[in-house]
Subunit: 261 residues, 2 copies
């Protein structure tokens, strides 16, 4: 009888997916941490458990580093909780801090995994240009005082589009991953946001190695300020040697914009 009950519970378990935005400033990344360190996942699971009444273990499209933001992180979890799907975003908002937002919820196919079903992702990195820091964009952009040659940055970004070995842009201490990824688009554009002169670097790829987005930005910025020529950028990229790339760009400028399934 007991195992029948378990089977029944399992049969009616739903696979729920959420679209989540967060300001990563005050969190030690997305992935669950041991207290007292607090990650976005700790807060989300704790609050979702109050809504669903059972133990929640989230699977995310990927981790984001400490201080990195998300506009469109996707997570999924299995639950026996009975709350109506449409009510989840509001119920979550009332329990979550202001810097974590559940934008949408839907019931996914039983086989859907936010991690394994992801086909590609867009990351956007924002730079605030100008002599003085803009206080409204300070948490969401890398402030750069020196002039940047946007056309040269665009030329460097064009070189990484396609399927390549991205070893030159991986994190130094991560060595045992397949370093081949496909970049579908790598764009740069200017805008005025909150009265700041913002330069955005948008990268759409099949996946990102650990620190890859921020290392690409660091090298592209080095090209923009003419510390590297476009030709030197190409040689570094071809060398697959992480040590040749300038220091990783600050986390605050990076945002996981969208995950495609």
């Amino acid at each position: 009888m007991k195992s029948e009950h378990k089977d029944e519970l399992k049969a009616r378990r739903r696979n729920i997916a959420l679209l989540v935005s967060y300001d990563g400033t005050n969190y030690n990344g997305f992935q669950r941490q041991n207290p007292p360190s607090v990650a976005v996942q700790n807060i989300l699971e704790e609050r979702l458990e109050k809504i669903f009444g059972d133990k929640i273990e989230l699977t995310a499209s990927g981790r984001t580093d400490a201080g990195v933001h998300a506009l469109g992180q996707v997570v999924n979890f299995f639950t026996n909780g009975r709350i109506e799907i449409e009510k989840i975003p509001r119920a979550a908002s009332s329990l979550l801090p202001k810097d974590i937002i559940v934008r949408a919820a839907w019931e996914a196919d039983k086989n859907f995994s936010a991690l394994h079903s992801a086909k590609s992702k867009i990351y956007v990195y924002k730079i605030q240009r100008g002599e003085t820091l803009n206080p409204f964009t300070a948490k969401f952009a890398w402030h750069i005082r020196y002039p940047l040659d946007v056309e040269k940055m665009r030329a460097a970004l064009n070189l990484i589009v396609g399927t390549h070995d991205f070893s030159a842009f991986k994190a130094e201490n991560k060595t045992n991953m397949n370093p081949v990824r496909t970049i579908y688009a790598a764009e740069i554009f200017s805008s005025e946001e909150f009265a700041a002169d913002i330069l955005s670097i948008k990268i759409h790829a099949s996946g990102f190695l650990y620190h890859m987005a921020r290392n690409i930005v660091a090298a592209v910025v080095a090209v923009g300020r003419e510390r590297l020529s476009v030709e030197e950028f190409r040689r570094i990229f071809d060398s697959r040697d992480r040590k040749l790339v300038p220091a990783t760009a600050p986390a605050c400028g990076l945002c996981l914009h969208e995950v495609f399934y």
Copy 2:
């Protein structure tokens, strides 16, 4: 001799003006407060005293309320401190918290007063539209879920342009001020900023009564959500009766954009 020394000191005192931006979220307004309450002025004066080596008393173009931001607040002060003008923004940045920025400094005429010489000001109020709060704009915009009719809001804003008695939009407890002001322009426009759908209300006026900008926004939003017709808005404005205007809009959406001299 002593008074001659004083005269000499006075003669070489400079009148220094600063252009200041701040994120007002964590401050109890601009105007100096008694501790433990902290205003932007407390922090600025304390840090400027370290740079100039004498007692600094700032005069600002006007106070801003608790939680209100500034892109272009202007202040001035008299000092015997000898630091070169061009070095002030960087020197200040190194001492100030990240949410207060000295964007520019210049030596003003001895008769210049940031308060009394001001000819007009622009305030911008930002609204974030959409079902869910955007975490990147949450501190700098009023999140409104319900639909807003922008054309009706524009029609209401057109009614306040010109020289009028703004008693209907003043703070309830402030009664003894001349309530006549001139509005040179009152505009509304949409933009995408940090992936949020932002509606900005920009008001350029000879001056603003206490709470006037936020009370105008509250009434214009009531028109936008069709709680007031444009005709009712006009009647309230003409009535000069503060009690007819909806509750003051939240401070977080408001920013002192520019002061003209």
